[in-house]
Subunit: 342 residues, 2 copies
């Protein structure tokens, strides 16, 4: 049976990481001391502010260890924690992993979990520098992610001004469709469902995080305010407007939304799935929602992934967030996204 | 019923914290943006390295929500997470709190938890700058703590050299005695036990963290290597020696140990409690264990809390960690402290 030291070694070897020995020779700014001491040591450079966030990913609340493949659990745990970093216009750099596991998950399951987390870390540009491990009856992950941004360039939720155009990346509601598909499958069929429908399930299992886009929007000061759509557009747009002290209007027909293919029409009927409702209130998509002053529109067109962006509305004075239908009728858009306590 | 936004507000008001509004006006190095955005933003000063650590504190593993008072859970969650910061010779500054709670704990229990955490934050000099909240069937806390230390002054586990003197602060085994007392009490008697024996239970419920001592040992370069005794002296001394590539010998009779008062002699018999064994292998004391080169001994005498320090042994060549009894007989000191996976 492994002890804690062996488990820490598995983690350090399982994902890109910085340990104590190699790192101590580095004289440049960055992480001087990583895994294996009481704490990690970061030597700040002069040309970056630090951005820091944390996120919990818990068995039974955010995933089902019996259903979700272990590598998807590892991938998503890190991806969703990282999402807040590009949402600040920053570049992901390092992470700390608190991981609680039952003894039975410390073998094959952990190896698969780490394989998924390794892929996420590579794609996101992250290195593990510390953490904590303990046992628990179910799998609990809590991840702290650190990023860097040019001094003063962090994009908060608070800078949107009337007249700014609201953009969102990707198509919203995809993660919710994936979740509904997983929920609708029998426990024994999950693996075959995932093989068959990997495309439709991707945003639910292996969410894409818009690191390049977010970083550019920050470094070039293109976005005046930004948030990642983790709780749902209606909730997160409400957060952005409240922080900026503004209102907004968005056009329902412009909201880029999940397409429900014929293969899922039975599910859609049964669960009354409506693409617009999923796009407005579904969580877990991790797309970027941001405001752009009109004078920055030209610069925006040069941003990476510009073709994945949609202008869905604009910022207004006041505090009302309105949804306009095809006939131009406005209704208040109430926050009805994910809230763990509702 | 509270939503997540209300819960976050409770946390921000419940402990010393930095939010988004007040902070944005600060131009100096430090936290520019705290709670309430996607991530916190820290502007590094030129005269400090950052030290960062995280720690989980879980119901059923580390505490019992039905037994341990909520304010002690809040206090200890933050204190034990912070312990690694002075153990690096650094000064605690900020923390991020990931908190998962069942709905029934969001009222009075949470208020008491936050009262304990507030007291710890004040004593430790910490401000809350971010976190994550979610629901769960039991109480889970995972805390990330950031500290600052003069550039290059972080004290790792790795600098001990043969001839250095080994010191430990306080008396070891006190937390274990408290734990045994709690375990031995009936569920309904815990509250009266705590009132009656608050002194004996203090290190178990409200562990003292040696912030001033740790910071001085780092800033004045007094300690060549340091670790906090969280898993037990035998285990943590092993970690320090392994990281430094050295051995050590300690004298059993010099190890400062818990005193078991007459009131607990029945418990001591029943549970076969031996003060030396508790001091060697009991965890959760959070005292500092460190090596001091002999030429720094004079400087050490001026350190705060010097009177609480005991020289228990010295660093040697090799890799053996030896315990010497009163007759000078040496035995290997095997790591038999706390390991969650054993």
């Amino acid at each position: 049976m492994d002890g804690e030291d062996q488990l820490i070694e598995k983690l350090a070897l399982g994902v890109p990481s910085i340990g104590t020995r190699a790192a101590r020779r580095i004289a440049a700014p960055g992480v001087q001391l990583g895994i294996g001491d009481d704490a990690a040591v970061i030597v700040p450079g002069r040309n970056a502010d630090f951005v820091i966030t944390c996120d919990a990913f818990l068995e039974g609340v955010h995933f089902l260890a019996g259903r979700h493949p272990a590598d998807a659990v590892g991938y998503k745990a890190l991806a969703r924690a990282t999402s807040d970093i590009p949402a600040m216009g920053a570049k992901p750099r390092w992470f700390l992993l608190t991981l609680a596991l039952p003894q039975i998950r410390t073998g094959d399951w952990l190896a698969d979990f780490l394989r998924g987390m390794r892929r996420a870390a590579r794609e996101l540009g992250l290195q593990l520098i510390g953490g904590d491990t303990t046992r628990f009856a179910s799998v609990l992950s809590s991840i702290t992610v650190l990023g860097e941004v040019a001094p003063g360039h962090a994009v908060t939720r608070a800078g949107a001004r009337p007249g700014d155009v609201l953009y969102v990346s990707g198509r919203l509601g995809r993660a919710q469709l994936g979740l509904e598909m997983m929920r609708n499958s029998a426990a024994g069929e999950t693996a075959s469902l995932i093989r068959r429908e990997s495309g439709l399930l991707r945003q639910h299992l292996y969410p894409r995080i818009r690191t390049r886009l977010g970083e550019r929007l920050g470094n070039r000061r293109i976005a005046s305010a930004m948030i990642d759509v983790s709780d749902g557009l209606s909730t997160d747009l409400g957060h952005l407007c409240a922080a900026s002290g503004v209102g907004a209007r968005i056009w329902a027909e412009r909201v880029p939304r999940v397409e429900i293919p014929a293969s899922q029409s039975k599910l859609a009927c049964k669960r009354k799935l409506d693409p617009l409702q999923m796009a407005l209130h579904g969580g877990d998509d991790y797309e970027l929602l941001f405001a752009v002053p009109r004078r920055r529109a030209k610069e925006l067109r040069r941003a990476p992934e510009f073709r994945d962006l949609t202008a869905i509305g604009e910022i207004e004075r006041g505090s009302r967030v309105l949804l306009l239908d095809a006939d131009g009728r406005a209704k208040p858009l109430r926050p009805r996204g994910w809230d763990p306590f509702r």
